[in-house]
């Protein structure tokens, strides 16, 4: 399952040498500093062993591939699969982290769903990181033929202070229907940089979800090109951080053709000293008339020291479009909290319910039941709705309605 042709590997290495590690001087990396990663002498794990993980969906997924430190170690389930050839959707010439991935590429899923085929159930790609100072560079290529349909879930989890630098390329052919979920639940000591590149042909319908809950530092990028007329994409995102987690989300939706639609909703929940970033760019090209686009980012801050930077962006090059965007940052609603408590529900449970209610808009739209449950569980574990007095001392101003 080796991904990239040898000469491409070399060209990508040259590209990375030229681009270098991204720095905060670049506008799209303004809020996220990768300098700590550059100080570490990363090594590759050449002989990873299979490890058990609670993140497995074996038996529930039609097909599950388990990768440890970038190498395929187990396949569960049988499904007729064709191997996809190379596509060039991810931009290794301009995106340094994609170039770094291509230069060091390891295993990944290469899946082609033939035209007209409806893949039953869903495919689970589980990427486990293990150990310290180990990096991995998985690369997935998913080609969905005309009028074919598939659901794919990628989960990232593990233990240790490893670094995952992953790339997924998806090509949705004419009229294809693709549901792609990325569940980033890396170890809290780990680093994660992920790039999902999607290209949609005429009338292709894609739903892409990014759920970011793990990692000391995680940067999730989703790039969508609406190349064919009438294509539509739904981008759902949820990032939930606690402690000193840094969760950065960047999305770029490029409307190239007429009559395309993009609906984007990213929600952030940040507690303690966590920091979140939402940087969303929507480009509407001169020829992309009758574009409909809606971009929304909503954030819930649970402590006085949690921070979120929200940067919704529209770049519109024609007049025949319907676009809107917006972002909000708020706290737990004191009236709602009072209402729940006035019915005998304890403060901690009430806070939990409200946090969950905020996130549920994204979680409930998740159609694959075992994955939805996994997200729900992880969310409750990460966000225990702590009472203010149980948080660390010396925090900034309290949310309205909180008792000192």
């Amino acid at each position: 399952m080796s991904a990239v042709m040898p000469d491409l590997r070399e060209r990508a290495a040259e590209s990375f040498a030229k681009l270098g590690w991204p720095t905060t001087r670049l506008e799209e990396w303004r809020y996220t500093n990768l300098a700590p990663l550059q100080k570490i002498a990363w090594r590759t794990d050449d002989a990873p062993q299979f490890v058990e993980s609670p993140a497995t969906l074996a038996g529930r997924a039609t097909l599950e591939l388990v990768f440890v430190n970038g190498k395929l170690v187990q396949t569960t389930g049988e499904a007729p699969l064709s191997t996809a050839g190379d596509v060039s959707v991810a931009d290794w010439e301009r995106n340094a982290m994609v170039a770094l991935n291509a230069a060091n590429v390891q295993d990944g899923a290469r899946i082609e769903i033939p035209a007209g085929t409806v893949f039953p159930g869903f495919i689970h790609l589980l990427f486990l990181g293990k150990g310290d100072n180990v990096w991995s560079h998985p690369r997935n290529t998913i080609v969905v033929g005309a009028h074919a349909q598939v659901s794919i879930v990628e989960t990232y989890a593990g233990s240790g202070s490893y670094f995952t630098n992953t790339v997924t390329e998806i090509v949705a052919g004419e009229g294809a229907v693709v549901d792609h979920t990325k569940l980033e639940c890396e170890s809290l000591a780990a680093y994660h940089v992920g790039n999902v590149y999607i290209r949609q042909e005429r009338s292709a319908a894609v739903t892409q979800r990014t759920i970011a809950m793990g990692g000391a530092l995680a940067r999730n990028e989703t790039h969508v090109t609406l190349a064919g007329e009438g294509a539509n994409v739904t981008l759902d995102g949820l990032f939930a951080g606690t402690g000193t987690q840094h969760l950065d989300n960047r999305t770029v939706i490029d409307h190239v053709s007429p009559h395309c639609e993009s609906l984007e909703l990213y929600k952030g929940v940040l507690d303690e000293n966590a920091r979140g970033v939402f940087d969303g760019l929507i480009i509407v090209r001169p020829g992309a008339v009758k574009t409909v686009s809606r971009q929304t980012n909503r954030n819930l801050l649970l402590s006085g020291t949690a921070v979120v930077d929200s940067k919704p962006n529209l770049e519109i090059h024609n007049n025949d479009v319907k676009c809107n965007h917006g972002s909000t940052i708020g706290q737990i609603d004191a009236e709602q909290l009072f209402y729940l408590r006035s019915r005998g529900i304890g403060e901690e449970t009430a806070r939990n319910l409200l946090i969950y209610a905020f996130a549920s808009e994204i979680v409930d739209r998740m159609t694959i039941e075992p994955v939805r449950e996994q997200i729900r569980r992880t969310l409750f574990q990460t966000m225990p709705g702590r009472l203010p007095e149980r948080r660390a001392e010396g925090r900034g101003p309290r949310a309205e309605g909180e008792k000192p």
């Binding site: 009236e335 709602q336 009072f338 209402y339 408590r341 006035s342 019915r343 005998g344 409200l354 808009e361």
Partner: protein, 250 residues
């Protein structure tokens, strides 16, 4: 059951209740009437423990316990229920799940077995009929997209399920048409017993035709200025609140 003694309280530094005293025994229905700004809602909110309301002095004993020292949820678990004037919408928190959590929190507090999903649904269905709420409402978010009347009926439904010792109705009648008013009154009447007490806070006499009080108190300028039987409500309706204010001055 409830003994309010010389209660002074307010909001944002402004004193609104200026020495209110009131005693309610089990089995009684009390109505507090008064013009806007007299302190009716402040009383309801102070009793339930709404944030931002400040108690300056005085005490509120509920079955011998100092209510004002308990956090909001403890007051509810002890058996105090506030039907709110403006119930808030909570999208994403399912009505049934919410109410089941609430009831089980109370049962746990009383040392009773928690109800499972089936037992709870059975109870909820029974109580839903009383307030004529459709079951479809129950699977929506708490009060989400409910009309004003539906929200008030949902308050009474919650009250019926939670079976509080003391129910406080804060202007539950405002904005209701006559049918909804009758449903709300029937819901409260169903709760009446020798063990339960009700405190109805209202601006109008309308609700009291269906929910007949044992005692009526008139609140003006943060104090109870007149108390009497149910006939006092009718007198107020005829003469208006000016009559009280004039009496008070005289």
């Amino acid at each position: 059951m409830l003994e309010i003694k010389n209660l002074h309280a307010g909001i944002e530094g402004k004193e609104i209740l200026k020495g209110l005293s009131l005693t309610i025994h089990p089995g009684e229905v009390h109505a507090i009437m008064g013009p806007n700004g007299s302190g009716k809602s402040t009383l309801a909110n102070v009793l339930a423990g709404r944030p931002k309301y400040e108690v300056i002095s005085g005490s509120v004993l509920f079955e011998g316990k100092e209510l004002l020292e308990l956090p909001t949820e403890e007051r509810a678990r002890e058996g105090v229920f506030l039907a709110m004037q403006y119930p808030v919408e909570i999208p994403g928190v399912n009505n049934i799940y919410f109410l089941k959590s609430a009831l089980n929190a109370m049962r746990k507090h009383r040392g009773e077995e928690e109800l499972d999903a089936m037992e709870f649904l059975q109870l909820a269905r029974e109580k839903m009929k009383v307030v004529e709420l459709d079951e479809a409402f129950m699977n929506r978010g708490v009060n989400e997209g409910f009309s004003g009347g539906e929200k008030k009926r949902n308050e009474i439904f919650q009250m019926a399920v939670l079976d509080p010792k003391l129910a406080i109705l804060d202007e539950t009648d405002s904005g209701l048409d006559i049918d909804a008013l009758r449903i709300v009154a029937e819901g409260v009447n169903a709760l009446r017993s020798e063990h339960h007490a009700v405190l109805v806070i209202t601006h109008y006499q309308r609700l009291l035709r269906y929910l007949v009080p044992d005692f009526v108190h008139v609140l003006a300028n943060g104090r109870i200025v007149k108390s009497g039987g149910k006939e006092l409500a009718e007198e107020l309706e005829q003469k208006g609140y000016d009559w009280i204010e004039e009496t008070e001055v005289a």
